[in-house]
């Protein structure tokens, strides 16, 4: 809150460390990267502690007119804070996850991850439209290298596909941004958030943004780059891709499309709902049929992201809060699941599900953690997944009971494919000799598993820590959408609540009241 420039510092630490990594030896590069990501994480924690919940919408703002046409404007609200926390939390774990697995060109690898971290923080805290776009697109370059250099056998194809798919979407968004800047005469995001674009222009702008963000998200049918990218990327690459990069699409939805084009969002809601419904069911079924572990989790990510989009477009407090919690939860859980795959991949060098079996016998600690994350992915109460799915489905139900119905089947299917995966990998007879020889988690892997598990449980047991900073921002978005919001088919009537006990009015209750029209 004081004048201390914490956001520029968080951008600078990984950037400087990235340059340093290029010039030091392999061993040193690992330590530099770990040190820098930990420092950034501590800075993030300081920022969270200093964040004034209920204070001004934009905090830690920095502004310098460095670039003439646009400015170096930074600042965060609660949503950005949470997503930055997610990024800085996952980063040190990614570095640790690649500690032994990456043996070639370690300096370059670490540099790419650190640049990635700078870019991710930059995307979430940019307050200038062009600055945002620059960070948004810049993420392609390090990810292209990470997949292409350290990926699996078919890495080149996956890297191309990732790069070109996402680039094609993004350039359309750039045209829309140019038109917006011409219309509103400013690149300042807080100003644009309250600018009323003409309704017919909104439709075009919305479609252009949608083209870009749907690919990033990814939504069906433009999700096909994701399974390839995930399967070929190194473990840490998948962790960061699933953990943070997939959140860029949803972040763009709630930061730009919904508040900036509320009328178009309401008109074209059916596209989002339609695609989300197809995605939930279709990708869940596809996941069920996979024989490659990473591909299975990649498809499950598409399904989860579809619930996020449906939740966001429910246009009410629960739906959006739930979608945001799924984003955070999926960030942690899918990163953890990819790491779980990475652990056994490092031992047996295959992702074929059938090559495993009976791991519960010789890797009990691993089996325990894998179980926890599987349950969190399914949405078992007490884990992070439950909170998000419950809230968002409650919100979706208010908007459209049919969408809620279809999305719920997706959750049932989700339980099916995750449990089926778990059964095939961890249970069963321990017959294969090479599988028998696999040792349980080592100290480094414990160090990664424990924080991930702790956060997944924390988010499941006391989600208020994560919801509180975002609540005000969600209320702002909901208020902005209210004039355009179509009537839902649920026709909820307010009940007659008994006098609330001193502590009885939970977070969900109050937001529920806000959501009912």
């Amino acid at each position: 809150m004081s004048g201390f420039p914490i956001l520029p510092l968080m951008l600078a630490v990984p950037a400087v460390a990235a340059i340093a990594c290029l010039f030091v030896g392999d061993k040193m590069a690992r330590w530099v990267a770990l040190g820098a990501t930990l420092v950034t994480f501590v800075l993030g924690c300081v920022m969270w502690a200093q964040f004034d919940i209920g204070g001004p919408q934009w905090q830690f703002t920095e502004r310098a007119d460095l670039f003439g046409r646009f400015s170096w404007a930074l600042g965060i609200d609660g949503m950005a804070l949470m997503l930055i926390m997610l990024s800085v939390f996952l980063m040190p774990l990614c570095i640790l996850a690649s500690w032994d697995a990456i043996k070639q060109r370690v300096g370059l690898y670490m540099a790419m991850f650190l640049i990635m971290e700078t870019i991710m923080i930059g995307v979430f805290c940019a307050q200038d439209l062009l600055l945002f776009y620059i960070f948004f697109e810049a993420g392609l370059i390090p990810m292209y290298f990470i997949i292409g250099i350290w990926g699996g056998a078919n890495r080149k194809y996956a890297a191309y596909k990732f790069f070109l798919y996402t680039l094609l979407g993004s350039v359309l968004m750039l045209v829309a941004m140019i038109a917006m800047i011409a219309e509103a005469g400013t690149t300042d995001i807080p100003t644009l958030l309250n600018y009323d674009f003409p309704v017919e222009m909104q439709t075009w702008l919305w479609l252009a943004f949608f083209a870009s963000l749907a690919v990033k998200m990814p939504m069906w049918p433009v999700h096909t780059w994701l399974p390839d990218a995930h399967v070929q990327a190194p473990t840490a690459g998948s962790m960061i891709l699933a953990g943070v990069l997939l959140k860029l699409g949803a972040y763009g939805f709630i930061r730009f499309m919904m508040p900036m084009f509320p009328d178009a969002s309401a008109q074209l809601m059916w596209i989002v709902f339609g695609l989300s419904m197809i995605a939930v069911v279709y990708t869940s079924l596809v996941a069920l049929a996979q024989s490659d572990m990473k591909k299975l989790i990649a498809y499950s990510s598409v399904a989860h992201m579809a619930i996020v989009t449906a939740g966001l477009f429910a246009f009410n407090q629960q739906g959006i809060e739930g979608a945001l919690i799924i984003m955070l939860s999926h960030g942690v859980v899918s990163a953890a699941l990819f790491f779980c795959v990475g652990v056994i991949y490092d031992r047996l060098h295959t992702r074929e599900i059938d090559r495993y079996g009976g791991l519960a016998v010789n890797m009990p600690a691993y089996a325990l953690f894998f179980m926890l994350f599987t349950m969190a992915s399914i949405g078992l109460p007490g884990t992070s997944g439950f909170v998000g799915e419950f809230l968002s489905l409650a919100g979706i139900y208010e908007a459209s009971s049919w969408v809620a119905f279809v999305c719920t089947t997706g959750i049932i299917l989700g339980a099916a494919y995750m449990l089926y995966l778990y059964r095939r990998v961890v249970f069963g007879e321990l017959t294969k000799d090479d599988v028998k020889a696999m040792p349980d988690l080592n100290a480094r892997e414990w160090t990664i598993m424990v924080p991930l598990a702790a956060v997944a449980l924390w988010m499941g047991v006391y989600p208020e820590s994560f919801l509180a900073p975002m609540r005000g921002d969600v209320t702002t978005v909901v208020a902005r959408l209210a004039p355009a919001k179509p009537a839902g088919d649920a026709h909820l009537a307010a009940g007659k609540p008994k006098a609330a006990k001193a502590h009885g009015e939970t977070a969900h209750g109050s937001s529920h009241a806000g959501g009912v029209q």
Binding site: L66, F67, G68, R69, R105, L108, L130, Y133, I134, F135, E137, A138, L140, I141, Y144, F145, G148, I149, R155, K156, A159, Y160, F163, L164, L167, L168, V171, L172, L174, V175, I178, A179, I181, A182
Partner: protein, 477 residues
């Protein structure tokens, strides 16, 4: 008349300096590389200094045939800087085969290009263009014992002559139907009713100029000439003449044909889209890095034309910024190509031989990656910024479909740029050894400086660039 001479110092310096360098070469012999090179470099530096000294003066000289203004000044500075670099890099490439004609020809070409950039009359336009072209034909076949080089020169000459013919035919039509060769006079007639003769004139003039900027469908010569010419000459072709021809085209379109927007705009839009798309598609499958960069230059010219098609001051500002960033990127990329030599010192031009370059020469590969990503216009590299400016100009001029089509086609272009990066970074090392080149500190310095500038640092220069390009573009409106 004599007062006018004081306003064309850059041209005078280049003429005299060129003649002195020629004399030095003739009397001191080709062995004195350092001497005539120094003389040429000093000439260019002095010419550039005189351009800076004349900055801010907006007038015309010699009965309105030549203009002295900041638009021409901006173009000339770029042209002189690019020529400067092309002279510096030559001796190491020719490796003892350097002759004094090389810097002399570049000086005369630079003189011609300066005249192109500041001409305000169809006659001066043609004189400047031919002075540049004749020097360029000889430069293309500079390695007279090399078959590819002589072939490139001949090809360039024949097609160049054809283009000059078309241009002259267009000029004669414009003169015939307007009664004047003066840009301002032509513009006055264009403001009225357009007859078929004028439209033919516009088409032929634009076709002739399209050849010089190598816009599709007048681009056929580019890949062959770029491949065949000696690399320093290719570097030159890809940088300075592009600036001159683009500046000339802008001047003709805005100054002379300005009122007849409807007549030229669709031609420019066609040239722009065709160049972007064909430049991108043609580059896929190229195995020679110089050919590939030729297609890349066609592609980039297409983006510049998007800015020109807008026909607004904003568009011209975009074109000028684009030219600057393009020249820096191209010089950097060709300098990297120059450094690619195998153990015997032979130039490496094949793309597959670059496999694994990032492990052999990490710095060089990183610089090349910066240049290629920048040419593709991927932020945060600075190549993004001029692309943004030209598309912004197009959108603001209500050419949204052009902007959308151009920007989508830019993704095709990204494909071949990232394909080279794939070769350098993802592929296993090729058999070709590429040892570190010794000695060329200047080359390394230029590569490093331009790569750094094109990475995020360039963005800090936007305010300066905006002021300079705006004052240059304002001259035409």
């Amino acid at each position: 008349m004599t007062a006018d001479l004081a306003l064309i110092w850059p041209e005078l310096i280049l003429t005299i300096g060129g003649l002195i360098t020629l004399m030095l070469g003739t009397f001191m012999g080709d062995r004195q590389v350092g001497l005539y090179q120094l003389s040429a470099l000093l000439t260019l530096a002095a010419a550039a200094a005189s351009v800076v000294a004349l900055f801010g003066i907006e007038t015309t000289v010699f009965s309105g045939t030549l203009s002295v203004d900041s638009f021409g000044g901006f173009a000339k500075l770029l042209i002189y800087a690019a020529s400067f670099i092309c002279i510096i890099i030559a001796p190491r490439f020719f490796n003892g085969g350097m002759r004094a004609e090389y810097p002399v020809l570049i000086l005369f070409a630079a003189l011609g290009m300066g005249i192109m950039a500041s001409s305000r009359d169809l006659m001066t336009l043609y004189v400047g263009l031919e002075l540049n072209s004749l020097a360029a034909y000889v430069l293309a076949s500079f390695m007279r014992t090399d078959e590819r080089s002589t072939e490139a020169g001949l090809k360039y000459f024949v097609l160049g002559a054809l283009a000059s013919g078309m241009l002259l035919y267009g000029i004669s039509l414009l003169y015939g139907f307007t009664g004047t060769t003066d840009f301002a006079g032509i513009a006055k007639v264009m403001g009225g009713e357009l007859n078929i003769g004028l439209i033919f004139g516009i088409v032929f003039v634009l076709a002739g100029l399209g050849f010089k900027i190598s816009a599709v469908p007048f681009h056929m010569w580019t890949p062959d000439v770029y491949e065949g010419a000696p690399t320093p000459v290719t570097t030159f072709f890809a940088s300075a003449p592009k600036v001159a021809a683009m500046a000339l085209m802008t001047r003709v379109v805005i100054d002379a044909m300005g009122p007849a927007v409807g007549a030229w705009q669709q031609i420019i839009i066609f040239l722009a889209l065709a160049s972007i798309i064909l430049g991108a598609v043609g580059a896929i499958g190229q195995k020679n890095i110089k050919r590939l960069l030729a297609y890349s230059s066609i592609n980039n010219v297409g983006f510049m034309l998007v800015g020109l098609a807008a026909g607004t001051q904003q568009g011209v500002e975009g074109v000028l910024t684009y030219l600057l960033v393009y020249v820096v990127t191209t010089l950097g990329a060709f300098l990297v190509v120059l450094q690619l030599r195998d153990a015997d010192g032979n130039q490496i031009e094949s793309i597959p031989a670059l496999a694994g370059l990032s492990q052999r020469r990490p710095g060089l590969a990183a610089a090349m990656a910066v240049f290629l990503f920048s040419l593709a216009g991927i932020p945060p590299l600075f190549g993004f910024w001029p692309k943004y400016l030209v598309f912004e100009a197009a959108v603001n001029a209500n050419l949204v479909p052009l902007a959308v089509a151009g920007i989508v086609a830019s993704v095709i272009g990204a494909f071949y740029y990232i394909a080279i990066i794939k070769t350098m970074y993802f592929d296993d090392k090729s058999d070709t050894e590429i040892p570190a080149g010794g000695g060329a500190i200047v080359e390394d310095a230029v590569i490093t400086a331009s790569a750094l500038w094109l990475s995020v640092i360039g963005y800090l220069f936007i305010p300066v660039l905006a002021v300079v390009s705006a004052s240059a573009a304002a001259v035409l409106f």
